[in-house]
């Protein structure tokens, strides 16, 4: 390599420290990458449902890794008192994991907490995370003939990955919710938990 390099070279990825990582990533780079992802999947599928499923699967892989990494980073915060950082904490309750997704995951991924977290009124097992405009949708416009397709399926996949890995299997979908007085509709991530999650919650009291 030309030039003096002060960066320590690690021979293997396992020896690299699991640090805080970069706090900022280029938005345009991400938008470009995401648009390529969507376009690539578009060429591979015939219908909208399949496209949504593929985006969700892509997000699922991200979510599974996100959960472990964030739990680990939360424990390793420098200014926490020594005794507090000793015991790792993982989420065992429903509200715990939901607020973890709503604040911590959103903050790390999108730079801010989600706009709101609501419990569904019709069904016991439904929760909704709303966002005025999802970061992934910012540079995307859906043509009329694609109907209700929402690229937020990627984010729904991330949420599903986090919940599934944490032990709360759920069906997660992204929907547009039109708001009066605003041009662009609000996006809602709808989380519907599996039967066993509610049973376990009831049992844990």
């Amino acid at each position: 390599m030309i030039g003096a390099s002060k960066i320590k070279q690690y021979s293997n990825v396992l020896e690299k420290p699991l640090s805080k990582g970069k706090q900022e990533v280029s938005l345009s780079a991400f938008a470009f990458l995401f648009s390529e992802l969507v376009q690539y999947n578009q060429t591979q599928v015939d219908n909208i449902a399949e496209l949504e499923r593929r985006l969700e699967d892509a997000g699922y892989a991200v979510g599974a890794r996100c959960l472990e990494l964030l739990c680990h980073r939360e424990k390793c915060v420098m200014f926490m008192p020594f005794w507090l950082s000793q015991g790792n904490r993982r989420e065992t309750r429903l509200l715990g994991i939901l607020s973890f997704v709503h604040s911590t995951v959103w903050k790390v991924l999108f730079g801010k907490v989600a706009d709101s977290l609501e419990k569904g009124t019709e069904h016991e097992d439904e929760y909704m995370i709303s966002e005025k405009e999802l970061l992934v949708n910012r540079f995307i416009s859906i043509p009329k003939d694609m109907g209700t397709f929402n690229c937020g399926a990627f984010v729904a996949g991330i949420v599903r990955g986090v919940l599934d890995s944490a032990g709360f299997p759920a069906v997660v979908t992204a929907h547009f919710v039109p708001m009066e007085g605003q041009q662009r509709p609000r996006t809602t991530i709808l989380i519907k938990f599996a039967e066993e999650v509610l049973r376990r919650e009831a049992r844990l009291g």
């Binding site: 293997n12 680990h72 790792n88 065992t92 844990l204």
Partner: protein, 156 residues
């Protein structure tokens, strides 16, 4: 000090994705099977305990003769256990399982074991972050193996 210790990482389908004998004592031929059996028998207990506490390190959950099982449950519900024997019949109250780290040992070194688990947990996260690694697949990396054994020598 000669210690027997057997270390297994169990995925959420109860399939071991990594196993190693990390003790410093001489091995008998049937020791490996015995250790594996004990570790698997302890899985039921882990299953029940995992949902009652939000801590990750579950100390001595099971005993067999002079061997003790200690378990560390990760956030994505991977279990790591240190084995000790226990026979018990449990009903599955939850089908969902975490990934677990399990260690079977005969010493009483709780702090050392906890640090060992935390370090291996970090290694596991690094393996998991690989986008080409399928969660739940066997960890076949020799680097990982070397590092786990080095950690075992250091902490156990």
């Amino acid at each position: 000090m000669a210690t027997t210790a057997s270390f297994i990482i169990v995925s959420r389908n109860d399939i071991p994705i990594y196993e190693a004998e990390v003790g410093s004592a001489t091995k008998r031929e049937d020791a490996a099977q015995l250790h594996q059996f004990v570790l698997h028998a302890a899985l039921d207990i882990v299953q029940d305990l995992a949902w009652t506490t939000s801590a990750m390190f579950l100390k001595n959950i099971d005993r067999f003769n002079d061997l003790v099982v200690s378990v560390y449950v990760t956030a994505d519900k991977s279990v790591r256990c240190i084995t000790l024997k226990a026979f018990s019949i449990r009903y599955f109250l939850d089908i969902f399982k975490h990934t677990r780290l399990m260690l079977l040992h005969d010493s009483r070194n709780d702090d050392g074991i906890k640090s060992f688990f935390q370090e291996v947990h970090e290694l596991y996260i690094k393996v998991l972050l690989n986008p080409l690694y399928l969660p739940g697949a066997r960890i076949a990396s020799s680097h990982f193996d070397t590092k786990v054994r080095a950690l075992a020598r250091k902490y156990l």
